[in-house]
């Protein structure tokens, strides 16, 4: 990416609103730096000028000065009222969604984001792909606890709440990748609930949308599964190298006998994996918590096939 360095305080701003927010930020930064400098100058100057020298003596009775007090009450009040209006104006711009905005449904759940493009029928996990220079409205809700959708590069943030929709919109102004964070604490993997917003050209977006509504054509089933393992965020909890995670590792799991928390056992076969993806609450492997969300509706038939094929290869 060219020229996407930010300032000392702010990351590069890649949305229409970023400039407005940065203007408010910089205005506060500069005025408060001046005020701070005056305060520090006052402290240091008086400290040196009026340090105690020699024998202690009585000091003058200076208990108030109406003019001075009015000045230092009125000037800060005017300044904060200005800041209030600046902040409020930019906030209004953030809050009013343009009528022609493209709508994407966002679901937050422990600990990943999923995005649904209603018109194309495509879904992605942890990667939001949007076209440049086009207003995008996100209609968001949570499957479990409160999360918060935060893209520093766009200067936007909005809590994502169960049983209620919240909304946010943006219009990207520069092609590139932007970090996406969950900003409301949500438990063990809160800091892993991160993703990317990929801003692409209009044409690239159309192509991508078409491709992602297809299901891995021209790829072997297990290669497609390997891709899904990352893109559907299985890797957040299930390792492929045998290391421990929030869920059992995939390494060598196929064909193995597993024990559930109620003591019963089962053999890991195609049906077992299918059931574990679509109805993960039915059986919980002993030693693990019941935290896996269902992928019912998030995965197409061929995608489930592909994941099974991929897990088979992990011996």
């Amino acid at each position: 990416m060219d020229d996407t360095t930010g300032s000392l305080f702010m990351p590069f701003g890649g949305s229409t609103i970023a400039g407005d927010v940065d203007t408010v930020f910089n205005f506060i930064l500069y005025t408060s730096t001046i005020i701070f400098a005056l305060v520090v100058f006052g402290i240091i100057f008086f400290s040196i000028r009026y340090r105690r020298r020699g024998k202690l003596a009585l000091t003058p009775d200076i208990s108030h000065n109406t003019k001075l007090e009015i000045v230092w009450t009125v000037i800060p009040t005017i300044l904060v009222v200005i800041v209030f209006f600046m902040g409020f104006n930019a906030y209004l711009k953030m809050s009013v969604v343009p009528k022609d905005a493209m709508e994407i449904k966002v679901t937050g759940q422990k600990w990943f984001w999923s995005f649904e493009y209603p018109e194309a029928g495509a879904t992605t996990v942890n990667e939001l792909v949007v076209p440049i220079d086009k207003p995008v409205k996100l209609l968001m809700s949570s499957q479990d606890v409160i999360h918060s959708f935060f893209v520093p590069g766009f200067r936007i943030k909005q809590d994502v709440i169960p049983n209620r929709y919240t909304m946010i919109w943006f219009q990207a102004t520069k092609i590139g990748e932007y970090d996406l964070f969950c900003a409301e604490y949500c438990g063990t993997k809160h800091s892993e609930m991160i993703g990317k917003v990929k801003v692409v050209s209009e044409r690239e977006f159309e192509n991508w949308l078409e491709e992602s509504s297809m299901s891995g054509e021209g790829m072997s089933l297990s290669d497609f599964g390997a891709k899904l393992y990352i893109s559907k965020a299985c890797n957040t909890c299930h390792s492929i190298d045998g290391s421990a995670g929030n869920g059992p590792t995939f390494k060598g799991i196929f064909g193995k006998q597993v024990t559930f928390d109620d003591g019963s056992q089962a053999m890991v076969d195609e049906n077992y994996i299918r059931k574990s993806i679509l109805n993960p609450q039915t059986n919980i492997v002993a030693g693990y918590q019941n935290i896996m969300p269902t992928f019912q509706g998030l995965l197409k038939e061929r995608e489930v096939d592909a994941l099974i094929a991929y897990i088979k290869t992990l011996e």
Binding site: R53, A57, V80, F84, Y91, K157, Q158, E184
Partner: protein, 537 residues
Amino acid sequence: MSEAVAEKNYLNDPKGWKSWVFTLDHKRIGILYLASITAAFFLGGVFAVLIRLELLNPGQDLMGPDTYNQIFTLHGAVMIFLFIIPSIPAALGNFFLPLLIGAKDVAFPRLNLASYYIYVFGSMFAVYSIFTGAVDTGWTFYTPYSTETQTSVIPMTLGAFILGFSSIFTGLNFIVTIHKMRIPGMTWYKLPLFVWALYATAIIQVVATPVLGITLLLLIFERVFSVGIFNPDMGGDPVLFQHFFWFYSHPAVYIMILPGMGIISELIATFSHKKIFGYKAIAFSSLGIAFISFLVWGHHMFVSGQSELAAMIFSFLTFLVGIPSGIKVFNWITTLYKGQIHFDTPMLYALSFLFLFTIGGLTGIFLGALATDVHLHDTYFVVAHFHYVMMGGTVMAFLGGLHYWWPKMFGKMYNHFWSVIAMILVFVGFNVTFFSQFILGSQGMPRRYYNYLDQFQPLHAFSTIGSWILGAGFIIMAIYLIHSLFKGRKASDNPWGGLTFEWATGSPPPHHNFKVTPKMTHGPYDYDKVLVEQTDY
């Protein structure tokens, strides 16, 4: 005054452990509180160092994510509920409020002792929760996470619930004491400003704390009986919890900072040997802050989905609450003008308070403005901001007060050289630790993250190094303060040349505070009329 070796004072008269455990003397209760909050500060500090150590590098260093989540929750809960809320009012306030108004004790000595034991009882629940799978909700206990998590939310919230009563009792006691126990001639405008600050604080404690109690009780009910007030599946509203919680916890921020401001007024006046500038402005700004503080809770919730109209109103009111704090800072600085400033350790803390609190206050403007708050909310910018206010503000004031009144409380003087070294380390370490966090936050680093992206590492490492400097400062402080108790030079009655009543009695004071009832011969800051030479240094 001649200082007999075996002179009786509140520390050695009466004797025996029972005389301490069942004491009704406000000074002894103050000392008990001081010991307890110091232990809590140490515990919270260890958690803080562990957090910073884990964040030195991305990925796992010391502990897993679940342990990390518990540690940062405990750091917050212990520091806020066990340390900073009781710190100045219950420890220094208990000890000095009666002395400052010339009284023998607080209005209700038994209630005072009860409030201490309620504090201990509540703290035990909090400590118990640490050993039973400590909470991992953050000190804010947001629902629905806090109703779902498997960790021991109930002991911790029950602890905070009980601690609330301790806070309410102390507040009640102080309000009555200030109204009824002043010596004749001490009118409201002759009260030391620390007393005004304690008064404003006490009002918030009494009015706001019950709301926290109700909220935490509802949370416990939700967990035990599934009543569904906050549970969306049962028609409840998880965001309602945030409104309840901040209705207390925003005013609580002023429970934490107002007493600190009171101490700063005392320190600035004493060490510049000058009448405080704008006495009434400082006194009434405390009350103004206390009042407006009840109307700004929604600024914690600008991105929570509350209505834009509500957000606008809360933002506006938030700016109003900033004005009285600014006025105080200007008054303190003007007090220095034409003073005779002496830079003893307490004054160094007061000046660092002015420096750090100003940064804390000014960075609050970024968070009060709607557009910038949307970006900065729940990032390290907020973490840095409240540490500048709470630690740069309240803790600096507390340390200033502690060093100011230490000779009075224990009759011993600490080592001057080491106290300055520790002060410098604390000041530098604090800025290294937390200034870097402003930049981390505005660059987009969310708070409560166990792991982080590589671009944030340099600043995280910098911040962690700061925590070591800060830790070193506190270790040195602990050593010279403890050393002074045993080997310290005997302190005179009025080492700093102060004009308030606590300096008109022995160091340490006798059991009944004053051998002769003090008389109101001059105001607390009449440095234009009365000259008392500094006897130490």
